[in-house]
């Protein structure tokens, strides 16, 4: 099967006009503007198969949104090739627009004062769907997203969670094959977040929609995505399964242990993060020490009342990768 997205040696530079402070420099800038070149994307390559759920992660300014704009045909690459559903996104931007959908957490595509049903109707006609096609599709989506009751209420009266569900339904009106989600869960509470995640999963399973998700929320990535790609300073610094990202990239375990008596530990690769009476929180580097040796050492001193071993939280994993990427350049 043809890959959903195929990117080869993609590069994009921006020319930014620089200005020195001061009036003199301002006048000089008017006559002879000076430019600084910024490499936003530095020769990246990747491939996404149809039906994949990919998390695209990176700090602000890493090149995330530039990459999305290149893939959707809004920006033109300086070098490299892009194929999205077999199309050159720049040359066939309009044709591609019919086959991809986008949700931008911070930008609404619904009309504020009108009920969602009106916005859905408008989007249907923008995508050249007949009234009947739109109706059938909206019927299906309102069932999946459970927004049937919200259809006739003005968007301004919806809660953020209800609105995001409508936004997602809106971006699926034209049955896109790829859905780009940019920070879909921003500002949502835990329960709603979980619901949105379930819905993304369901759309992916039932309609086979390829999901391309950017998020700062580690939970989003962990719960929805099977594959993660981390971009920093315009380069991809990690590409692999989310499981791997979590378990093997950072070879660390957090050991929370409650002892019967006083205990301490001094072992290479083990740091005491917190100590409170007989309770210890340890950070174990598995490339140097093993959890087993840590537990054995502790048990020699006193009996263990309770113990939990967990892997490092996603936030830390990601910030670790960011830091590593910085070190490379």
């Amino acid at each position: 099967m043809e890959p959903a997205i195929q990117v080869q040696g993609l590069r994009k530079e921006f020319r930014l006009r620089t200005k020195q402070p001061g009036l003199k420099a301002s006048i000089r800038g008017l006559l002879r503007p000076e430019y600084r070149t910024v490499e936003a994307v530095r020769s990246i390559s990747f491939q996404i198969e149809p039906g994949e759920v990919l998390a695209f992660i990176g700090p602000n300014g890493a090149g995330k949104s530039t990459t999305i704009k290149l893939i959707t045909g809004i920006l033109y690459p300086d070098a490299g090739t892009i194929r999205v559903l077999g199309l050159d996104p720049h040359r066939s931007r309009k044709a591609l627009a019919y086959r991809i959908g986008t949700v931008f957490g911070q930008k609404s595509q619904l009309w504020f004062h009108l009920p969602p049903a009106d916005s859905f109707q408008l989007l249907g006609s923008i995508y050249d769907m007949s009234r009947k096609q739109t109706q059938t599709r909206v019927g299906f989506l309102s069932e999946v997203f459970e927004i049937g009751d919200l259809m006739d209420q003005p968007v301004r009266k919806l809660s953020l969670g209800q609105r995001i569900r409508c936004e997602m339904a809106a971006s699926l009106i034209h049955s896109p094959q790829i859905l780009f989600l940019d920070e879909p869960s921003i500002g949502l509470d835990v329960v709603v977040k979980q619901r949105i995640r379930d819905l993304i999963g369901r759309i992916n399973r039932e309609e086979g929609v390829t999901i391309f998700l950017t998020s700062h929320d580690a939970g989003d990535i962990e719960k929805i995505c099977r594959r993660a790609m981390v971009i920093n300073h315009g380069s991809i610094v990690w590409d692999g399964s989310v499981k791997e990202l979590k378990y093997s990239l950072l070879n660390r375990r957090i050991v929370d242990v409650k002892m019967d008596g006083p205990a301490t530990i001094e072992m290479p690769g083990v740091t005491v993060v917190k100590r409170k009476e007989y309770a210890l929180k340890l950070d174990v580097d598995l490339s140097i020490a093993t959890t087993e040796s840590v537990i054995t050492a502790l048990m020699r001193q006193s009996a263990i009342q309770d113990i939990t071993i967990s892997s490092a939280p996603m936030e830390e994993v990601i910030s670790h990768i960011y830091a590593r990427g910085k070190g490379d350049t």
């Binding site: 627009a97 019919y98 916005s119 408008l122 050249d128």
Partner: protein
């Protein structure tokens, strides 16, 4: 199919506008005040004279209700356009399968035409009370409505162009001020162009600004077939020209986006 797309944008924008209509009508106390000022002013200017430059006092006041209705009905679409350009969200809007400029013009017109109807009704009431009915009002009505819609469209297209200028200029408001003042003075929004010295009136009549105020209003107050045809012809000409300018600007803008990023 393509036309349906824009027709839907137009009708949704109109429906959306109904929500704002009550507050819009309250704001239009301004309309009443300005017409009262015009009325007081022109009563002095006319004095004992029956007509000035072929216009009666009744015609002049009705003329001003029409030009003001055109002006006050227009949503400032250059604001959201320039905002989208500045904060970069335009990148997402242009990824949709429609013409960006046409989208905004249809959206603006949907709102404008919902607003112009109550303005025309208010104007009708105020002018009738102040100076009495306009002779030939009803027979010219269908033609008047068409050219007034045309005038609003000319103004809206100019606004779309001004909005796109945000790709090159930080602040586009000054451009709007200039265009608006040109419509006020050269376009005959404050005063029928015929009142000007002949040489100035000739120049003013040929400008696009006149087709956004003077021509449509004067077609309604002093209806003739020729006047109607000149108005329509001029509006079509300038709309075609502005549409071309807007399309070229948009193309240049997208190219600029490619070089400098969103």
């Amino acid at each position: 199919m393509t036309i349906r797309k824009y027709a839907t944008i137009f009708s949704i924008a109109g429906r959306d506008q109904f929500v704002y209509l009550p507050s819009f009508l309250v704001r239009n106390v301004f309309f009443l005040i300005i017409l009262f000022i015009f009325y007081s002013l022109w009563r002095v200017v006319y004095g004992d004279a029956n007509t000035i430059a072929g216009f009666t006092m009744v015609q002049t006041l009705w003329y001003l209700t029409f030009t003001e209705a055109i002006e006050l009905s227009q949503t400032r679409i250059f604001n959201p356009i320039s905002q989208e350009v500045k904060d970069g969200t335009i990148a997402y809007s242009i990824a949709r399968p429609y013409s960006y400029v046409l989208y905004w013009i249809c959206r603006g017109m949907g709102e404008n035409l919902v607003k112009v109807v109550p303005l025309l009704l208010e104007g009708f009431l105020i002018a009738t009370i102040m100076v009495g009915p306009l002779p030939g009002y009803l027979s010219a009505l269908p033609f008047g409505l068409i050219v007034i819609a045309g005038g609003i469209l000319v103004g809206t297209t100019l606004q779309a162009i001004i909005g796109l200028l945000a790709f090159w200029f930080e602040e586009v408001m000054p451009f709007w001020w200039i265009v608006q003042k040109l419509i006020f003075v050269i376009g005959g929004l404050f005063i029928p162009i015929d009142f000007y010295p002949d040489w100035l009136a000739r120049i003013a009549r040929a400008t696009p600004f006149a087709f956004a105020a003077y021509w449509p209003a004067s077609t309604w107050v002093a209806f003739s077939r020729e006047r109607f045809l000149i108005t329509i012809g001029g509006q079509v000409f300038y709309l075609a020209l502005f549409a071309l300018v807007a399309a070229l600007l948009f193309r240049a803008a997208v190219r600029k986006l490619h070089i400098q990023g969103g």
